[in-house]
């Protein structure tokens, strides 16, 4: 068994990270406070890990916050099970649904929908903590710079996989071009359908012959 200290450390770090981020988005904290008392159980299948996110609103400050637990003996509002990759997709992709990604949902799906909505609308004002450290004006300058850099990085990262894929197929000819591959895949599918049809016809023919033999 893993040393419980490590697991407690993981839970504490996750809890601090979530609540620190929430502190700089009062709107999301207000929405979260309305879900106080609800518990989301997350069972990751790959890697294997279970955690319970307990929503509370009695922190002495305005708005809700989240406690992370490795065990929970009370009621669970919603339980989700699936791989870590599927959960990341679920959080990132606006159109993703648990069913599409193979994530099993037990209990109330309303809590999941509301949490997804809060996460997608999360707008953390990073300038606020910065301003406390270095003052309003430098924080704004830095914030603008960081936003520009982040936007460039997002574009660059978004374009990178496409550029790499083009280089691999078009320039280096290591993989077939997409159109060629798709045509090949369609041919394979048509061939497979043809074989299936032939198999069905043969089976029908065989059953007719068998029936005639008996008569």
């Amino acid at each position: 068994m893993t040393d419980p200290t490590f697991r407690a450390g993981f839970d504490a770090t996750l809890e601090t990270a979530i609540n620190t981020a929430l502190r700089y988005d009062p709107g999301s904290r207000q929405r979260l406070a309305r879900l106080a008392g609800k518990v989301l159980a997350v069972n990751l299948t790959a890697p294997t890990l279970s955690l319970f996110l307990v929503i509370d609103d009695e922190d002495g400050e305005e708005g809700g916050y989240i406690e992370v637990h490795s065990r929970w003996s009370g009621e669970v509002t919603t339980e989700l099970s699936g791989s870590a990759l599927a959960f990341i997709q679920l959080l990132r992709n606006r159109d993703a649904t648990p069913a599409k990604l193979g994530v099993t949902v037990r209990g109330s799906s309303a809590l999941l929908a509301e949490l997804q909505s809060i996460l997608r609308d999360l707008d953390i004002d990073w300038e606020e903590p910065l301003a406390k450290l270095i003052g309003d004006s430098p924080a704004h300058q830095l914030g603008t710079g960081v936003r520009l850099a982040a936007s460039w990085l997002k574009d660059a990262l978004g374009a990178a996989p496409r550029a790499t894929a083009e280089a691999v197929s078009e320039e280096w000819r290591m993989t077939p071009p997409q159109a060629q591959f798709e045509a090949f895949a369609e041919d394979v599918a048509a061939f497979a359908q043809g074989v299936d049809r032939l198999e069905a016809r043969l089976a029908l023919l065989k059953s007719k012959l068998d029936a005639r033999g008996k008569n």
């Binding site: 068994m1 040393d3 200290t5 504490a12 509370d56 002495g60 065990r71 009370g74």
Partner: protein
């Protein structure tokens, strides 16, 4: 001539009736800087040990919880939130200085309403039978003069099915870790005590009392002997600390 019964106080043997007073002096001395020293001595890891204790307590809203040797109220604060307005947490400590620091800290954090503070000796708990759903004693049992008596007292005030959690320093699992830990405890710890709290002796006592405390299996046996069932322990940070759990049948 009759021989006086003695017990250990760190590595010294002292008359049984003197131990409580000597332990009290140590904690009167360290109370004001107890939290700072805890963070410094454990590198903040004591918070993770306590966090795991809370997880294993399975505390729920509406329950009644006793935090013995609750010191500065770390566990009480967390329990207070879990049991909510319908539950109750009793913060108990034998030492008035520690209790005062704990009570003030809880009030400063706005924790009130479902918390009571009681100055009590773990050996003679001043509560009716079958009162609590859960009892925790974190880093307190090794300072109790008669541990068996204290365990029986805790069993008495627990409700049937209630659980006792003992968080305490214990014996490291590996020899190498034990050596490193010894060097740390007997060289660095008193030095830090001197530097931060200007009190090397108290911190030397803390290190010695840890070595005199029963190891994991012995404490588990003592809990079974006292009447607890389903006794088990979880080693943490290589056995430097262990969390023992027992259920009142």
């Amino acid at each position: 001539m009759t021989e006086r019964k003695t017990t250990h106080f760190g590595y010294q043997q002292v008359p049984v009736e003197e131990k409580a007073g000597r332990v009290a002096d140590v904690f009167h001395s360290v109370a004001a800087r107890y939290d700072v020293m805890n963070d410094l001595m454990s590198g903040g890891i004591h918070r993770l040990w306590k966090r795991f204790t809370i997880e294993l307590s399975a505390a729920r809203p509406g329950q009644t919880i006793l935090d013995i040797a609750g010191g500065t109220g770390d566990l009480t604060a967390r329990f207070s939130r879990i049991v909510g307005p319908t539950g109750k947490v009793v913060l108990a400590d034998i030492n008035a200085s520690m209790l005062k620091v704990g009570r003030d800290r809880l009030l400063d954090r706005g924790i009130a309403g479902n918390v009571e503070t009681v100055q009590a000796d773990a050996q003679y708990l001043p509560f009716p039978d079958n009162t609590f759903d859960c009892i925790t004693i974190a880093f307190g049992l090794r300072n109790v003069t008669d541990k068996d008596l204290a365990l029986r007292s805790m069993l008495r005030v627990l409700k049937p099915g209630g659980r006792l959690l003992v968080l305490e320093f214990s014996k490291p699992e590996s020899k190498l870790l034990e050596k490193v830990y010894d060097q740390y405890s007997f060289r660095l710890l008193p030095f830090m005590g001197k530097l931060v709290a200007d009190d090397a002796d108290s911190y030397r006592y803390l290190a010695e009392s840890i070595r005199m405390h029963p190891d994991q299996e012995t404490l588990k046996g003592m809990m079974s002997e006292a009447g607890f069932v389903d006794c088990e322990f979880h080693n943490m940070t290589g056995g430097i600390v262990a969390l023992h759990k027992g259920i009142k049948p």
